[in-house]
């Protein structure tokens, strides 16, 4: 039995200690929300565990939403015509991927594979749409953050394209 005088009986009182909320706070799409709003997002998020070398999704599969890495590593890659694997990114704790699928029903442009035992948080389009219905303030904040992330990726792509054109 825990000693009430010396033991930390106050542990768990601070809601923000929750690892899911802590991870969400690192993701630009979920930045700047109140604790109540984080709890609401937490209710919509699906926690999934993947074994090493298990696919999260495959290229050309219809996308339903985005994933945030709570723990572990995920490799994003494409297979070229000759069957050679080209790694596009290796993502770790706190990173996220597949966010474009929150907006449209297009197919996945690359495959995602768990490199080690990983726990991912999935946030999906139907849940975002239902959130927009029930709590438009929070739903719109997420959409605005999502637009910022996509804008930043577009700007970066533009820079890389300009650099590569200048190098040619």
């Amino acid at each position: 039995m825990e000693n009430a005088f010396w033991g930390n009986i106050f542990k768990g009182w601070r809601k923000e200690e929750n690892p899911t909320v802590l991870t969400l706070k690192q993701v630009p799409i979920f930045k700047g929300f109140s604790n109540k709003q984080y709890r609401e997002i937490e209710n919509l998020i699906h926690e999934r565990t993947y074994k090493p070398n298990e696919y999260v999704f495959k290229k050309k599969a219809p996308g339903v939403g985005m994933y945030i890495i709570l723990s572990g590593k995920v490799e994003i890659f494409i297979e070229e015509a000759d069957g050679k694997k080209q790694t596009l990114a290796e993502l770790k704790e706190g990173d996220f991927f597949g966010e474009l699928s929150l907006l449209d029903e297009e197919v996945r442009s690359a495959s995602a594979l768990a490199k080690e035992h990983s726990t991912l948080l999935g946030f999906f389009r139907p849940d975002l749409f239902s959130l927009l219905e029930r709590n438009p303030e929070l739903g719109n904040k997420i959409l605005l953050n999502l637009a910022r992330v996509i804008g930043a990726r577009l700007r970066k792509t533009n820079e890389l394209l300009t650099e590569s054109q200048a190098a040619e």
């Binding site: 209710n43 919509l44 699906h46 999934r48 993947y50 298990e54 696919y55 999260v56 999704f57 495959k58 050309k60 599969a61 219809p62 996308g63 339903v64 939403g65 999935g122 999906f124 389009r125 139907p126 849940d127 239902s130 219905e133 029930r134 709590n135 438009p136």
Partner: protein, 372 residues
């Protein structure tokens, strides 16, 4: 070793499957009522969910939104059922007392004789003699009033089912998103995204169908009430107009058969109220077509309402949400009606819609199995 393991696993799975099917078959009579309650609760949840979501958006409390919604629904159903029952009993009593009056019986007899004499000769022998008919009708009405007591017993079991459905609906409405999340947790990683897609598509298809049907039913009810009031302005002498309209709207929820069921109470009441009224008996539609007791007028009015509903309202509000071929709708209705009666007919089309969506998803998965 792995080659040996696969067939063994398959045999094991088949045995487990058979045990599960056998178990469900044995316990089905005991759980069927609970399953029906849960299905009803899910259907009501699907209809009420957007309203609860809307209330939650306004008052920022899920619990309070569900409470307000429940109070509104119970109040509306109670007012409707209470008012309908009292009016219906009043109408039946009036008709019963009218039947006991001699002039009324002679009116009914003379109407029956007139109607029979207008029939071709070979059909006259089939119709029972008028004296027998009025006796039978008198007997049946008094029997009906006596049966009201035994009917009260059936009402008791209906009330129990209704209360349980309301409780289930409240619980599901309150924790809907939590339940969905718990359900999704059991999907294996391999089928996770496809499972989510399936749940989302079923939700979308069923809810748009149900909401569309409800809107179409509301429009049929309102149009029927307006139509009946117009007929009353021309002297049709119809009572319980609002209830007839609502029944017509509710009957409209059953495709193909519903519209004809909706007409019946209006024709019955026109007949009951106007018997003995020679003006109503000799009424002609547009002054040309004989329409005793405004019956042809009522049929025409309901046909116009159906045309407006089928051509303008339903295509807009229901659209291609379920998108079943009319012949398939008919087959599905017959199967539903045979299995579960009117309730089966009501749920036949949305159930077929769910099966269609599941079939489409299975076809999609089997075409793209390499994506799993």
């Amino acid at each position: 070793m792995s080659k040996l393991k696969d067939p063994l696993q398959q045999i094991y799975r088949v045995i487990i499957g058979l045990i599960i099917v056998g178990f469900v078959y044995v316990i089905w009579p005991y759980i069927s009522i609970v399953v029906v309650m849960l299905v009803l609760a899910f259907l009501f949840t699907t209809i009420l969910l957007p309203v609860v979501d809307y209330l939650e958006r306004k008052i920022k409390s899920r619990g309070l939104s569900v409470l307000i919604m429940t109070i509104i629904v119970i109040a509306v159903i109670s007012v409707f059922l209470g008012s309908f029952t009292s009016n219906f009993i009043k109408q039946t009593k009036e008709f019963s007392s009218q039947l006991n009056q001699d002039d009324y019986i002679s009116d009914l007899n003379s109407f029956a004789e007139k109607a029979i004499s207008s029939l071709p000769e070979f059909m006259r022998d089939i119709i029972p003699k008028t004296g027998n008919m009025t006796d039978k009708l008198q007997g049946q009405v008094s029997e009906f009033l006596q049966n009201l007591l035994s009917f009260a017993g059936a009402v008791g079991s209906f009330v129990f089912t209704a209360v349980m459905v309301i409780i289930f609906t409240v619980i599901i409405l309150y924790g809907y998103y939590h339940f969905r999340k718990s359900l999704v947790r059991f999907i294996p990683n391999k089928y996770f995204e496809i499972g989510l897609r399936l749940i989302f598509n079923i939700e979308r298809s069923v809810s748009s169908y149900l909401r569309g049907q409800l809107l179409a039913a509301t429009s049929v009810a309102i149009l029927s009430i307006i139509g009946l009031f117009i007929l009353n302005a021309f002297g049709a002498n119809l009572t319980l107009v609002v209830f007839i309209g609502i029944i017509a709207g509710l009957a409209n929820l059953i495709p193909l058969v519903g519209p004809f069921v909706g007409m019946a109470p209006a024709i019955l009441i026109a007949f009951m109220n106007n018997l003995g009224n020679n003006v109503a008996l000799g009424h002609k539609l547009f002054g040309i077509l004989p329409s005793p007791f405004f019956i042809v007028d009522i049929i025409l009015m309901f046909l116009i309402v159906q045309q407006i509903d089928n051509n303008y309202v339903t295509p807009k509000v229901v659209g291609e949400s379920v998108g079943l071929h009319p012949i398939l709708v008919m087959i599905v209705l017959l199967i539903g009606g045979t299995l579960l009666g009117p309730l089966g007919m009501l749920f036949a089309v949305p159930a077929a819609g769910v099966i269609k969506v599941v079939g489409q998803e299975i076809a999609f998965v089997s075409r793209n199995a390499y994506l799993l």
